[in-house]
């Protein structure tokens, strides 16, 4: 069953590559959609055999592959990875659905998309350190291509930056895993805290910090975030959706699964510094977001801020905080995907994402009223307003962390307040006001926007609407997700019994 989650996208990707390139793009897209729908169905079907009361890995599948080096093909799912697998399946589908009019190399594009989705599934499901690294690396190149080939004007710079950063990240993680296996004398790269049992503290610290930096680049946490805003601004909308919604979660997943899960002994030693790091990252991301003019950069910096909460939760390692971190991953995935979709619609209709230029898009006759409505919903969710996914996530994280790290938690709450500031600026500038009026220093020709925007077809907003509904759904009925992840996060935090 789990292997199906890998096989479907991989086979789909290969099949697309083998198709004749003369096939019309719409046909390619249709084939990709079929595979992705299938993948989503399988992912949802996982909920049936999945036993929420069992916190450990389940539904294992394994066969030995290259056992001489400890690389076994072993998959398993637990309450931590299942929500992320679901998000991955859903968002890849969304991003394929919202890919329209791809004129350039559609074959490669869709197969890369499928490949990423499969690799991400593999990374989430891998029950072996090396297997994780392989999938983690496998996702880099397709994403690099997606940015480098289908990106904006400055795509070469952005994609190279992305590649260098994430390659370093991958390298650090691999080095840490190999080092871990080497010093512990383990032969099978199992994911178990027993690996670090006998190691001296210094060795553990070195390995842990290497891993933290590796995942910190991917998450990304300040100051390793510089690749993200560039990558987002240059990537096309569907790629941004994937990047923000799914790929960043690889970092946070790794943080919790490997950093937190493998080093229970030394974790308490560095947890206080991590909490401070989290607070800095949150404030840094939020403050930098306030100063942005480009909507996409703003949303990208908001990701830096919001991912900081996950680090805070991991540092506290209480059951509530860890559950909150799963919520935060899921809700950030959905919300940021929603925001990028909407920014994408605005960009397509107006040709700009500049907040100094955009005005009055909420205009019911000539503007983008429905997009605006969804945008208000999205930014409010991101700002953590109750009734939407962001609130319960943040509440759980803060509630779980405040006793362990009061100051860092309070700073993070301030960061959550700042989120409201910059997103309100976004809505106020771009959507409120009068449509025809543009300010003086206007880079757009004639100093005026085209005031008769093309209407947004309903099918363009369907993916955004679906995401918006799920944002509200999670916000109003969070118990479902909690049931999936509760035992897993409990188990993980028992590892850290003393803390919190």
């Amino acid at each position: 069953m789990l292997s199906a989650l890998l096989l479907i996208p991989f086979i789909g990707g290969l099949a697309l590559l083998l198709l004749p390139s003369s096939l019309p793009p719409t046909r390619m897209r249709a084939i990709a959609l079929v595979f992705l729908t299938l993948q989503l169905l399988v992912a949802v079907a996982l909920l049936i055999p999945f036993d929420p009361s069992n916190g450990g890995p389940q539904l294992q599948e394994s066969f030995s592959w290259i056992s001489s080096i400890g690389l076994d093909y072993r998959l398993a799912v637990d309450g931590l990875s299942l929500p992320l697998v679901l998000i991955n399946a859903a968002l890849t589908l969304v991003s394929a659905v919202c890919t329209r009019q791809i004129s350039q190399r559609p074959r490669l594009y869709f197969s890369m998309l499928l490949l990423i989705s499969g690799a991400v599934n593999g990374a989430f499901l891998a029950d072996n350190l090396l297997l994780f690294v392989i999938f983690y690396e496998l996702e880099l190149i397709p994403l690099w291509l997606l940015i480098a080939v289908w990106g904006g004007a400055n795509r070469a710079y952005a994609s190279t930056k992305f590649l260098i950063f994430t390659a370093i990240s991958g390298f650090l993680i691999l080095a840490a895993f190999l080092g871990l296996a080497f010093v512990s004398g383990s032969v099978n790269f199992d994911i178990t805290p027993a690996l670090t049992d006998q190691l001296p503290v210094v060795t553990q610290l070195v390995l842990l910090i290497t891993l933290l930096i590796g995942f910190g680049i991917k998450i990304p946490l300040a100051p390793f975030h510089v690749w993200l805003p560039d990558a987002h601004t240059q990537a096309s909308t569907p790629v941004s959706v994937m990047l923000a919604g799914v790929l960043l979660k690889l970092g946070t997943y790794g943080l919790i699964r490997f950093c937190l899960g493998l080093f229970p002994d030394v974790w308490p030693l560095i947890a206080p510094s991590l909490a401070i790091w989290a607070a800095i990252s949150v404030l840094y991301g939020s403050l930098a977001a306030i100063a942005q003019r480009d909507m996409k950069r703003m949303v990208a910096f908001s990701s830096v801020g919001h991912m900081g909460y996950v680090l805070l939760a991991a540092a506290a390692a209480t059951p509530t905080a860890l559950l909150g971190s799963v919520f935060q991953m899921v809700s950030h995935g959905v919300i940021s995907a929603l925001l990028f979709l909407l920014v994408g619609i605005v960009y397509r209709k107006t040709g700009t994402r500049d907040l100094e230029v955009l005005r009055g898009l909420l205009n019911p006759e000539r503007g983008l009223p429905f997009t605006g409505t969804l945008m208000i919903l999205g930014v409010m969710a991101s700002a953590g307003l109750p009734g939407m996914a962001g609130f319960i996530s943040e509440f759980l994280v803060f509630r779980g962390s405040i006793q362990a790290f009061p100051l860092a938690t309070l700073l993070c709450i301030v960061g959550s307040g700042l989120t409201a500031v910059y997103f309100l600026l976004l809505v106020n500038r771009a959507f409120f006001g009068r449509l025809a009026v543009t300010p003086k220093s206007d880079p757009v020709e004639d100093g005026r926007l085209d005031v008769q925007l093309l209407p947004v077809a309903p099918r363009e907003t369907v993916p955004a609407l679906a995401l918006a509904l799920s944002v509200v759904g999670i916000g109003i009925l969070p118990s479902g997700l909690a049931r999936i992840s509760d035992s897993a996060t409990q188990l993980l935090s028992q590892l850290h019994g003393g803390l919190g």
Binding site: I66, L108, I164, L287, I402, G417, L424, F432, A482
Partner: protein, 597 residues
């Protein structure tokens, strides 16, 4: 169920404006009737607590709970009736508005949130719905989003309230962690326990208590978070009616519910008193120098809520509730009559209005009734509240008595001043042809006027203790005296243009100071806003100049090779695949070699 009713209206938004409005009205009416049935039921059978589990995981239990007590239900009745009247009023006021349906959908949302606030039995739910209230206020204020002033007003309303909410969230999170439960009842017992055993540090106690104050402070538009209410007057008037009466009441009710928790910290009580005093006096002073007819009264709201804060800080919850109701009704009536004036004349500047009295009898009468209800001069609602308040303060904190009296006097002054200018005076160009408003607006206005007149009777029937008869005659005479003085001053003060912005430098300075609200807005702009903006720009510059550049430097070596890669970007797919495969093969063979060796 009661809560879900108004919310459901969002669904019919698309079916054309009018049906949505009628549907919303019907639902609100159903809410009022349901509420009153419930009220009489609870009166006979005692309070009921309804609770549903909402979220239960990781040792955290969050419930949706409604506490159906007499006070809460009475407040609910107040909210729904206000909403009903306001919505009816809006039918007339927003007659030609193209997005009437959106207005009603938002109003329904708004009303649902308020109903949630007054009924909620735990702090979590209170916070939840308070934020909904913040959101709906933002959307309602921003209703006419094409106007620049509205945009800033909506932003300020949201952010000010959000500051309060974030502070409240901090307290909420802390309380949830240390007290273990967020039900008000549990929290009360917890506070009692903490006061005995002192299990948490005094600093923490103080911070928690201050955070708890901050939320309601923003909602009740208290100094220094009062700016939004004034700016929010840019929004549609029917929403202003609700904001000035019902919303601030909701905020104060939350404060009432957390009042026992404030026992944690004497500092918090002092802060509450100081804020209340400053708001009461400052609001009243600023109000008398406004020329915008809506703003003249919105500052009055700040001022009265300041008095409510004082009452709460002095542990007089009953007086606080009575004052809230009396003020809410009267203030709503004032805003209806003001709304009628604006709807008829399309003008909000009182210096351009005049002589409306004979032309708009119903509006004028309503204004007079509301003024009487608002000031302590005639024995209507606020009169008794002031009496009770002063009686209570006499024994505990006599230095606060003048605050109440001065506020009363200034309010009377303000009301009389505006009355003279708008309703008496000679007709101005804009007020020559001013017919009375249509019945959509007149009906709710007149019914509310009747309600305001009935307030003392309602007080008498609901609250037997403290009885209104116990108010000492000295307090009564003080109140009457202050009201009469204010009214007298208001009727004597010259209203001509020369006087309204005096040529005398010192006087003009004072007038300007008040007219510009102690320059609060400018103060904020040059401090907090500038500060956050500065930090944000610094962070951004740091990000671009330092972090990014550093990274680029470090990466420049690899960038050289990356240049080579860049050229290969649109090259053959096969080569990429080959690279990946090659890397994997190399890695694996390396590993095998290491294992074997």
């Amino acid at each position: 169920m009661l809560l879900a009713l108004p919310w459901a209206t969002g669904l019919v938004k698309r079916n054309g404006p009018r049906p949505a409005a009628y549907f919303n009205l019907l639902l609100t009416m159903a809410g009022v009737i349901h509420g009153s049935v419930l009220l009489s039921w609870v009166e006979q059978n005692g309070a009921v607590l309804l609770e549903w589990p909402w979220f239960n995981a990781a040792g955290l239990e969050l419930n949706i709970g409604f506490d159906l007590t007499l006070t809460n239900l009475a407040a609910l009745e107040f909210v729904t009736i206000m909403s009903l009247l306001g919505q009816f009023f809006a039918l007339g006021y927003l007659d030609k508005e193209w997005s009437l349906a959106r207005f009603y959908a938002l109003l329904g949302f708004f009303e649902g949130a308020m109903a949630g606030v007054v009924l909620s039995s735990n702090l979590f739910l209170s916070y939840f719905v308070l934020e909904m209230l913040t959101l709906s206020t933002y959307l309602l204020v921003g209703f006419w989003y094409a106007q620049p002033l509205v945009v800033t007003a909506a932003r300020d309303a949201f952010l000010t309230k959000r500051v309060g909410d974030v502070l409240l969230l901090m307290s909420l999170v802390a309380l949830s962690a240390w007290a273990g439960s967020l039900d008000f009842e549990d929290l009360y017992t917890w506070v009692g326990q903490v006061r005995v055993d002192g299990s948490i540090s005094p600093l923490l106690e103080t911070l928690i208590a201050l955070g708890l104050i901050a939320g309601p402070m923003g909602k009740c538009a208290q100094f220094p978070m009062h700016l939004w209410l004034d700016e929010a007057m840019e929004g549609p008037n029917p929403a202003s009616i609700l904001r000035n009466s019902a919303v601030v009441t909701c905020g104060a009710l939350v404060l009432l519910k957390v009042m026992p928790l404030l026992q944690l910290s004497p500092v918090a009580i002092d802060v509450l008193l100081i804020i209340g005093t400053i708001s009461a006096l400052g609001g009243a002073l600023v109000a008398i120098s406004q020329v915008d007819i809506k703003r003249a009264f919105s500052y009055g709201t700040t001022s009265y809520l300041g008095l409510v804060f004082i009452a709460i800080a002095m542990q007089q919850p009953v007086v606080a509730v009575l004052l809230l109701f009396a003020h809410g009704l009267a203030k709503a009536l004032i805003f209806m009559s003001v709304g009628s004036v604006i709807a008829t004349t399309n003008c909000q500047d009182i210096t351009e209005l005049g002589g409306l009295g004979p032309r708009m009898p119903a509006t004028t009468t309503s204004y007079l009734v509301a003024s009487a209800g608002l000031t302590g001069l005639l024995p209507l609602g606020c009169f008794w509240c002031f009496g009770l308040l002063i009686d209570g303060l006499n024994s505990s904190a006599p230095w606060l008595v003048p605050v109440v009296l001065i506020t009363n006097g200034l309010t009377a002054f303000n009301l009389v001043r505006v009355f003279r200018q708008v309703f008496l005076d000679t007709p101005h160009p804009k007020t020559r042809r001013t017919p009375e408003v249509n019945w959509f607006m007149a009906l709710p206005m007149v019914s509310l006027a009747v309600l305001v007149l009935l307030v003392p009777l309602v007080f008498r029937s609901i609250y037997s203790t403290p009885s209104l008869d116990t108010v000492s005659s000295s307090s009564v005479s003080l109140v009457v005296l202050s009201g009469a003085l204010g009214a007298l001053a208001g009727s004597l003060v010259p209203l001509d243009k020369f006087w309204s912005r005096s040529v005398l430098k010192p006087l003009r300075t004072v007038q300007d100071l008040l007219a510009y609200d102690f320059y609060t807005e400018r103060f904020y702009r040059s401090t907090i806003v500038a500060f956050v903006g500065f930090i944000a720009r610094m962070t951004d510059a740091f990000d671009r100049q330092v972090v990014n550049r550093l990274v680029n430097r470090i990466g420049s070596a690899s960038l050289v090779s990356a240049e080579g890669l860049k050229l290969a970007v649109s090259g053959q797919t096969q080569s990429y695949v080959l690279t990946v495969l090659l890397a994997i093969v190399l890695l694996l063979s390396g590993l095998i070699w290491w294992r074997v060796a």
